[in-house]
Symmetry: C2
Subunit: 384 residues, 2 copies
C-alpha cells in the first residue's frame, strides 16, 4: 500500500464517516482528519495498526498436534483441524501455508506485515493450544510456548506483543503460570480456546484463573474452538464445526454462560476479549436483557447485579477478526461503544491486505478509527 493509496483510503473513510452515530459530526470528523494530515499534505497521517488475534505455534506443539490428528479414539471436532494443518498438508495448499506461517516469527510474517503497513501482531498460540493434553503435559507445553513467545517479543519488541496460554486442566498451576507470564516474561494478557475437556470456565473450579487475571489486571482472550462433544452433533455435517459456523456457536455460548454464572459479580474487573465481532453476542443484547429481567422477576433464575448487556459493555471487549463487514463494524461500534472494539486480522487464517483495506475504508471518523486500530488495544493489553 503506497502512501498515496493510504491517503485516498483515509479520505474516503472521512467522507463516509457521517453515517455512524459516534457523536462526531461530519464537520468534526473532517477537522480531526485535517489536523492529523489526512488531506493532501506533505506527510499524510496513518493510524498505527495493531492486530490483536494473530496466531503462531511452536515446532514441538506442531509435532504433537500431528500425532493427535492421527488418533482414532477421539470424537473431538478439533482433531480434523489439527490433522489438516499439521499432518503434512499438500505442498502449496492453503493448509501448508497456514502451517508454515504459524511456525514463523521472524521472516515471512514480518514481510507480510510490512507489505500492508501492519505495525504490530499481538501473538497468541493457535488452537487448540495446550487444552487437549493431560494436566502435566499441558502445563509443560504452556511454559515452553510462553517462553518461546516472550523470546520472539524480545527479538522484535516494536513488532510483537504476546498473549500467554495456560492450562485450565490445573487451575491453580495455571494461575501461577499466568503470573509468571505477565510479571516475569512481560506478556500482555492471556488466551484460552473455549472449552477444556468439554468443561466451561464458568464452573467454579476454574475461578482461580479469573482471580489471577483480575489481580494481574490483564484480559483473557476467549478464542474459539469447535463445539464441545456435548453439542457437536449438528456441526458434524457440511464441515460446519469450524470457522464457518461452529466456532461462533461454541464460543458465544461459553461467553453467555460466563455472564449467567455470576463470574462478573465475583470478579467485577475481569476483562474477557471475544474475537469475530463478539461471536454474535452483541446481536442478542436486547433479548438477553429482556429474558433475563423476566426470569429474575419471576424468581426463576439467580439474581445478578447488572443486566447482561451491562456486563457485556463493562467486562468484554471484542475484535474484528474474520468479519470484514462494515455493516457489522458500524453496528458493534454503535452498540458497544467506541472503546470496546479492536482490530484483528486472524493471521495466518485471514489474508492481511483485505483486513487492512477493510479498516482503511471503514465508515468511521478518524478518532474512532484510531481507537479501533490501536488505542483500545494499547489500553486493554498494556501495549507500548
Amino acid at each position: 500500500v503506497s502512501i498515496t493509496r493510504r491517503t485516498l483510503l483515509t479520505a474516503a473513510a472521512v467522507s463516509a464517516a457521517g453515517s455512524v452515530a459516534s457523536g462526531k459530526s461530519d464537520a468534526a470528523a473532517a477537522t480531526v482528519a485535517r489536523s492529523q494530515g489526512a488531506s493532501a499534505s506533505l506527510k499524510p497521517y496513518r493510524h498505527r495498526r495493531i492486530a490483536t488475534e494473530e496466531a503462531f505455534t511452536t515446532p514441538a506443539l506442531a509435532e504433537a498436534y500431528k500425532i493427535l490428528g492421527r488418533t482414532t479414539t477421539s470424537s473431538n471436532l478439533d482433531i480434523a483441524f489439527m490433522k489438516s494443518i499439521f499432518d503434512d498438508p499438500t505442498p502449496g495448499s492453503i493448509r501448508d501455508e497456514f502451517r508454515r506461517r504459524l511456525l514463523d516469527l521472524d521472516t515471512e510474517r514480518l514481510a507480510i506485515m510490512d507489505e500492508s503497513g501492519v505495525d504490530m501482531h499481538l501473538l497468541s498460540l493457535t488452537i487448540p493450544g495446550v487444552q487437549m493434553f493431560d494436566a502435566d503435559t499441558a502445563l509443560d507445553f504452556s511454559v515452553s510456548a510462553n517462553d518461546a513467545l516472550a523470546e520472539a517479543v524480545r527479538r522484535h519488541p516494536t513488532r510483537f506483543g504476546g498473549l500467554a496460554c495456560f492450562a485450565p486442566q490445573s487451575p491453580r498451576r495455571a494461575a501461577k503460570e499466568m503470573e509468571r507470564a505477565t510479571q516475569n516474561l512481560k506478556l500482555n494478557g492471556f488466551i484460552v480456546n473455549s472449552h477444556t475437556n468439554n468443561e466451561y470456565l464458568d464452573e467454579t473450579k476454574f475461578w482461580p484463573i479469573f482471580e489471577a487475571a483480575e489481580a494481574l489486571g490483564r484480559p483473557i482472550y476467549l478464542h474459539p474452538r469447535s463445539p464441545s462433544d456435548g453439542m457437536a452433533a449438528p456441526f458434524r455435517n457440511y464441515q460446519m464445526s469450524g470457522s464457518i459456523w461452529g466456532y461462533a456457536a461454541e464460543t458465544g455460548t461459553h461467553a453467555v454462560r460466563l455472564i449467567f454464572s455470576g463470574v462478573f459479580d465475583r470478579f467485577p474487573k475481569l476483562k474477557i476479549v471475544l474475537g469475530h465481532m463478539g461471536e454474535a453476542v452483541p446481536y442478542w443484547l436486547w433479548r438477553l436483557d429482556f429474558m433475563h429481567a423476566r426470569r429474575t422477576a419471576e424468581g426463576m433464575t439467580k439474581k445478578l447485579q447488572l443486566t447482561p448487556s451491562e456486563y457485556f459493555r463493562r467486562n468484554f471487549a471484542i475484535t474484528t477478526s474474520g468479519v470484514e463487514s462494515h455493516d457489522v463494524l458500524t453496528y458493534v461500534v454503535n452498540v458497544l461503544g467506541v472503546d470496546n472494539v479492536m482490530w484483528a486480522i486472524d493471521y495466518p487464517y485471514q489474508p492481511t491486505q483485505p483486513a487492512v483495506a477493510f479498516m482503511d475504508t471503514a465508515p468511521l471518523p478518524p478518532s474512532v478509527l484510531a481507537k479501533v486500530y490501536h488505542q483500545n488495544a494499547e489500553r486493554i493489553f498494556h501495549l507500548v
Copy 2:
C-alpha cells in the same frame, strides 16, 4: 393507543428516518410522510399492522403437552418448557397467562390487539407443535390443529391469518396435509419447530416437504425449539436452552445446514422465514461467504450455485419477533434489503404494546416501515 399518540409516534419515526441507508433521503422520507398524512392533518395515517409469529394451541394439544411434561424418560430440553406452561402453572403467574392466551382465539387476544391497534395476527401452533409424537399421532394432531386454525380464521377473517403445521415424521403425508391446508383450508403457509427427533430438514428424506412448499408457493416458518439432544449439553445450565440463548443456536444452525445441503439449488423458489431477527444468521453473512468461497476453491466442500448470502437474501425472510432493538432492525434492513424483514410480536410470549412502540419509533422512512409492518407479510404470506 389513541390516534393522537399514533400521530406523534409516526412523526417521531419520520424525523429519525435519515439514519438508515435505505436510499431515501430525509427530504424524500418527509415527502412520503406528508403524502400519507403523517403530519398534523385531519385524518392521520397509520400503517396496517400485521404480526407474523403469533402463537396459539388447542385444548387437546395443551392436554397432551401436560402429559409429556411429566415424563421422566426423555432428556429433550423442551420437556421443561411444556411442563412449566401446560402443567397447572401457578395462577396469576406469567406461565399461567401464556397458557390462557395460547388457548384463546376470540376474546382476550382480540382485545389486546385492539388496545394496541394490531390489525392482524398470523397465527401458528406453539412449540413443539406436533413434533414430539409418533408419526400417526403427529399427523392426526396436525390435521385437527389446522382445522381449528382455519375455523378461527373463518370466524375472524379480517383479524387472523394462519400458518399450517405438519408432521415431518412422515414427510409424504406431511406434503399431503400441506396441500390440504393451503388449497382447502386456505391457510397462508407453514410452520415447523426446528428439529424433529433430533433430525434436521436438510436430510433428503424430508425433501418432499420442501417440494410441496415450493409447488404450493408458500413459505415455511422455521420456528425455534430448544437444542436437539446432540447439542444440548452446554445449554442445560442457567436455563439457557430456551428463548434467552438456546433457541437461536439451534435454529440458526438449522438454517445454515439448509444452505450448505444444497436444498436451495434443488428448490430455488423455496422461501424459509426465520424469526428473532434471523437467528443471528444475518450477522454472519460475510464470514459464511468468505469461508465457503475458500472451501470451494480448495475443493473441500460441495459446490453450490450461489454464495451463502445470496441464498439468504433470495430464499429467506426474517421477522423481528422478540428482538426490539432499533440497532438490529436498522442493520437487517440495510443488509437484507427492505423486502426481507417483517414485523412480529411473538404473542403471548412478548407483550404487545412495546412491540408496537418499537416499530412506531423505528428510525425507518415511512415507505420502509410500511413494508416491515404489513406489505412484506401480505406478499410473502398471501394475506389480503
